[in-house]
Assembly symmetry: C2
Homo-oligomer: 143 residues x 2
DNA sequence: CTCAATGCAAACTATTTGCATTCGA
DNA sequence: TCGAATGCAAATAGTTTGCATTGAG
C-alpha cells in the first residue's frame, strides 16, 4: 500500500476531508528531497501554489506524521524536519555539522543491541533516535 | 580533576570571572538530580537565591557545556536539559514517554558499531545522540 | 447544507540578547 | 579602575492556535 493510499484511507476513516491543498502538499512532500523543514517545504510549495498558507503546510505535515507516512526529525538546529516514512525500511542519520549533509544508515546489529538494552531495563520501546554528528568526508578534507 | 576545578581553570584561562552566582549555580547543578531543564534549575536555585536571574542561569549552563562539564540533552519535549558530564563515562538514555523517567545506559558494542558506520561513510564523528523512547516497566504494567 | 479545512494574523514558548548597573580581579 | 557579569525586560524564532471564510462530502 503506497503512501497516497495510506493517507487517503486515514482521512476517510477519520471523517476528514481530502482537499486539493493536502494532495498538493503530499505530492511535493513525496517528490522532494528528504529531511526538509516545514519552512523549506512551504517555500518549495509557494513556487507553484502561492496562496497556500504556512499553517496549512504545518498542519498537513503533522497529519502525515500522525497517519504514519512521515516521521519528524530533530537534528538540534531548532528546525523540525520531516521525511517520508517507509515502514519496511527504518534508518538513522549521519549529520555533517559543517555543511549540513544528511546521510541515512541502517545497522541491524545496533537495532538488535538496542532491543537488548531495553529488555534489560524492562522498557517497551516505541521509537528511538540515533544520530551521529560530525564532519563528512568533504568537510573533513577542507579543514 | 573534578568539575569545579575544570570550570575554575576554564574561567581563568579565558579571562572570565568567578562570581558567587556561578559558584552557586555550579554547586546546585552538581548536587541536583540530573536531566533538568534550565527552568527546573532556575526554580530550584530561586528557593535559596531569590535574586538570581533566568538569563544568568541560562548563560552559566551554556558556559558549563562550553567548558566540557555539562552536556545538553534534547528529548524532543521542547525543553533543553542538562546533565553533569563525566568525561570518562559516556552514556545514552532511555526515556519513558508516559512518566518521563530517564534511565542511563551504556553499550560499548553499540559505540563500536557506530564507529564502523561512520568509517564506512568517511564521517569523522564529533558526538552522537542515541535515545530509546517507550514505556518503563511501571507504566507498561499500568496500561 | 454541514462541518472540516484554509489562510491570515496573533499567541505562545523556550531561548537569546541589549543595556544600565554591579562587582570581581 | 575596567571590563566582565548580572538582572531585567524586550526581542527572536519556530511552532501553534483563533477565527472568519471557503469548500468537500
Amino acid at each position: 500500500m503506497d503512501q497516497v493510499t495510506i493517507f487517503s484511507e486515514y482521512v476517510r476513516r477519520k471523517g476528514l476531508k481530502n482537499t486539493s491543498q493536502r494532495m498538493t502538499i503530499l505530492e511535493t512532500f513525496l517528490g522532494s528531497k528528504s529531511h526538509f523543514s516545514t519552512e523549506d517545504l512551504y517555500f518549495e510549495l509557494r513556487k507553484k501554489h502561492p496562496k497556500i498558507g504556512y499553517a496549512t503546510v504545518h498542519r498537513t505535515l503533522k497529519l502525515f506524521a500522525e497517519c504514519g507516512i512521515a516521521s519528524e526529525l530533530d537534528f538540534g538546529d531548532g528546525q523540525t524536519r520531516f521525511e517520508p516514512l517507509d515502514l519496511n525500511q527504518h534508518h538513522d542519520h549521519l549529520v555533517c555539522t559543517h555543511c549540513g549533509l544528511i546521510v541515512e544508515f541502517t545497522e541491524p546489529q545496533i537495532e538488535k543491541l538496542q532491543e537488548q538494552v531495553a529488555a534489560q531495563y524492562n522498557f517497551k520501546i516505541e521509537r528511538h533516535r540515533h544520530e551521529l554528528y560530525g564532519l563528512c568526508a568533504n568537510c573533513a578534507k577542507q579543514s
